[in-house]
Assembly symmetry: C2
Homo-oligomer: 294 residues x 2
């Protein structure tokens, strides 16, 4: 018994003749004839009476027809669901965003989903990289977007959609240091509160090499917070200077420090290696790339 045979059975019962049904099924008459014969043999009983040039459902055929209909319908539904999940237009995706990506992506991502993929559930988790990776490994997340420089390389993780974003010291418009076209010596920054997320050793090393011991984050940073968005808000409403990627605060002013900072952060989408992706992740993936490179 085959799903194809059941489809033939159904169409034949509806069209009332092998000739018509075979056309509807894009088959030749003999092929349909054999298909029905095979089904009848398999079920152990004739489904149709061949009365001269007319056919008619047998008692058994009538009883089995309704069941065959339901079966085929469910098969179609199963396949449709499979394809739907492939498109990622429905289902659930759980994405973790670390501080920087969170500030840039959270709002536009949720917005985009609400507008363009109403049937796709998106769960955004915020947290530091270590926490997110742990959740990813525990399969409580499907993906995480983090600074991959803060990520210890691991064989069970795959990084994709990597984007490098330039970082800088940022201040509010109208800040005392906001003098257009005028480079600012690093020392002048220290007159203001410096805000930053916890920085990796790599970044700390770069800072001290460039600006001296005073740039050691342990000393330099006065406002430390996991959440970049909060830091940006602080810089926006005060004279505090925030060290972060420029894209996180587009309404803030990047300061031209001397020597130039020339720092970047490298964001990437981390998933478990050798694991099939949740279908909806395809959309998230594209979105992340688009939003970060915009």
């Amino acid at each position: 018994m085959t799903l194809v045979q059941l489809r033939h059975f159904i169409v034949l019962s509806e069209s009332g003749s092998f000739a018509k049904a075979s056309k509807l099924l894009f088959l030749t008459q003999p092929a349909l004839s054999r298909s029905i014969q095979a089904l009848e043999y398999d079920l152990g009983h004739a489904l149709f009476d061949r009365i001269g040039r007319r056919i008619e459902l047998t008692m058994v055929g009538k009883q089995l027809l309704s069941r065959a209909r339901r079966l085929v319908q469910e098969a179609d539904s199963l396949k449709a669901i499979g394809r739907q999940m492939q498109d990622g237009v429905s289902g659930i995706v759980r994405v973790g965003l670390s501080s920087g990506p969170g500030a840039i992506l959270s709002t536009p991502m949720l917005l985009h989903m609400a507008q363009h993929h109403p049937r796709l559930q998106l769960e955004v988790a915020r947290g530091n990289t270590e926490l997110l990776i742990h959740a990813l490994r525990a399969q409580r997340l499907d993906a995480a977007v983090v600074d991959i420089r803060a990520l210890r390389p691991a064989a069970d993780l795959t990084v994709s959609e990597q984007v490098e974003m330039s970082a800088s010291f940022l201040c509010r418009k109208g800040h005392p240091l906001d003098e257009v076209g005028v480079p600012v010596p690093f020392e002048r920054l220290l007159a203001y509160p410096i805000a930053s997320t916890p920085l990796s050793d790599e970044v700390a090393r770069m800072l001290t090499e460039r600006y001296g011991a005073a740039a050691n984050p342990d000393d330099m940073v006065t406002l430390r917070c996991d959440d970049t968005a909060t830091l940006v808000e602080v810089a926006r409403s005060s004279d505090a200077i925030v060290l972060t990627i420029k894209a996180a605060g587009r309404d803030l002013v990047p300061l031209d420090t001397v020597p130039a900072l020339n720092a970047t952060a490298r964001f990437g989408l981390v998933t478990l290696a050798h694991r099939a992706e949740v279908p909806g992740l395809r959309i998230v993936r594209e979105l992340v790339t688009r939003l970060l490179t915009a």
Copy 2:
């Protein structure tokens, strides 16, 4: 997407490895591997994560598994119902019995069904041959057991299970004519009431040829009734003599008339030609043969 593939999917998800599943499915490992691959391709998404030598259901796989289970289960059920109807162990059979067969078959048939096929509905209709054949053509009966000599041959009717049964004049035990081993001249019968169902022209002709004009049923038969069982009961409780098949009244005594009657009735099971039988009819068919030849 194939039912076979879905079965493979289910077994694989339960066994947890291609190797085990392939053994359970009586397949080689590569065959199973390809089957799953084909299904995954068809559904548009991986169903299993291949993690080293271990496999694990993907999110999509988990969602589709339950549906696949239900689908396969219903397919099995459909097939089972088909086969069950084939065996005829359930369903409904409507059989018409004319006078003679009714007397012999009604009770034992209903009894047998009640005892051995409790899930098979049997409807027994009694009536004369003409009435039964009409009901058969109108598809209000699935079969009729009648004297086929009283049946006008017709292309749309099929006769099977033909059995010839000897008929005789029967009287009760202890009847004045019941003298063991002593043949009875036909004329002596006429001293008693003669009971019979309406007889066909063929039988009438035979009677007059053998015993003379006095044997013309129109004159000879004094008790005429459609129902053989009733006639037998009359003969059982009176001196009436009944002309019918011996099997209809096993407790009655067949009379050795001179010349010998040597009459038979030819019973057969009539169905519509070119029509698939109701499944349960197989059992009825066997039962009729068995009861009539016993």
